[in-house]
Symmetry: C2
């Protein structure tokens, strides 16, 4: 075994710590993605049991946010990272917040799945929710993938996906309002669907934030709010 | 004038830098509070001109977020703060995000004010929006005040205000749905009001986040997601 200098040893520990928060962020991303998929399935398949599971599991996502955030502060305090290492740690403290909010929206969707199932017992599968839901799942997957590979170009391409989601969101809203006007008895149910679609649109925004943070880590450039 | 050691000099610069990001955060808070007040007034007084102003001014809030965030990263890189100083800087990078999102919700409210004014020309003053709006303004003021004084107890008291806002939000939603069912011609208008109320409820959540961050700086304790 090669002899390792004290400094190299410290550096190696530091690299391992950075690698660990990256891994934990990816784990949290995977968990949140699963929550989102389950929430959408709970709505479209009118599966209250699955919805309850999503609601219960949100707590784990919350805990992950607090734990990873604490690890980030410890790394900054102990290792005093600079340049891209510091950007990575700062990115992770922001990213866990966006992931937690995605988890929160997934829980809200699951709450509406429970109400929708109570209201009608079965569903027509809600094609518009499955459609937007699939786009949002794909966008989140692409964002997490871009983070895993530190791929700024992939992150920039993923940001563009949000436009189509916003368009689909607006179309779905208009359809819901028309539907409510034509059949006022459907209002209560339609309002629940409206919140689900709104949550999906918000998740797209959070996935976009994740991508902007990836560009920040890789390129050192803050591209938020560019007009 | 007393002679100042090199170390004291560095410490003084550091203190000044910390004080500066605090001041800038307070300025941003003041700006966001003004945006919120104007947005609510634009709805209740059917004032499209004021609404347009809020929409235009959002850009300044966005710029403040990016600038303060950059200043925080520079302080960490140059000064390597520890303990409560580090917590303060980390808190500020999170707080600017919540303030920016409050600004974003204020802009959304202003957008709905424009549509509502087009739809009807005048308004009944929307007492429910003024009521929840006033509670949310007060909560944000209290949060900023707790931050200015680093007062964890005031922050904890302010967090409790969010419960009443959530209750008022739910009541207002139920009333809107009843209203829509009774008069389906009002649906389009009611949906706009529904988004305004939702934005107000979200702003309450962000003010709560600010308070949790204040407790974190002062007490070193992460109280998010406590059940």
């Amino acid at each position: 075994m090669a002899k390792m200098s004290f400094e190299n040893h410290i550096m190696k520990q530091f690299d391992e710590e950075l690698e660990e928060i990256r891994t934990r962020l990816m784990e949290m991303g995977g968990k949140v993605e699963q929550q989102l998929k389950n929430a959408i399935r709970a709505v479209s398949e009118a599966d209250s049991k699955l919805a309850e599971e999503v609601i219960l599991e949100e707590q784990r996502v919350d805990d992950m946010e607090v734990d990873i955030d604490e690890a980030c502060i410890l790394i900054i305090a102990r290792r005093q990272p600079a340049a891209s290492d510091l950007r990575l740690v700062m990115m992770v403290t922001k990213a866990v917040n966006d992931l937690e909010r995605i988890g929160d929206e997934a829980k809200k969707i699951a709450n509406h799945a429970v109400i929708l199932t109570e209201q009608s017992g079965s569903s027509n599968g809600y094609p518009e929710i499955r459609h937007i839901g699939n786009s949002v799942i794909r966008m989140l997957e692409n964002a997490l993938d871009a983070f895993a590979r530190f791929d700024a170009d992939a992150a920039l391409r993923t940001i563009e996906e949000d436009e189509q989601i916003d368009l689909d969101y607006k179309t779905a809203l208009r359809e819901l309002v028309t539907y409510m006007m034509e059949d006022p008895r459907s209002i209560s149910r339609a309002i629940n669907l409206l919140w689900v679609i709104r949550s999906l649109e918000r998740i797209g925004d959070h996935a976009k934030n994740l991508c902007e943070q990836i560009v920040f880590v890789v390129k050192g450039k803050d591209i938020r709010h560019q007009r």
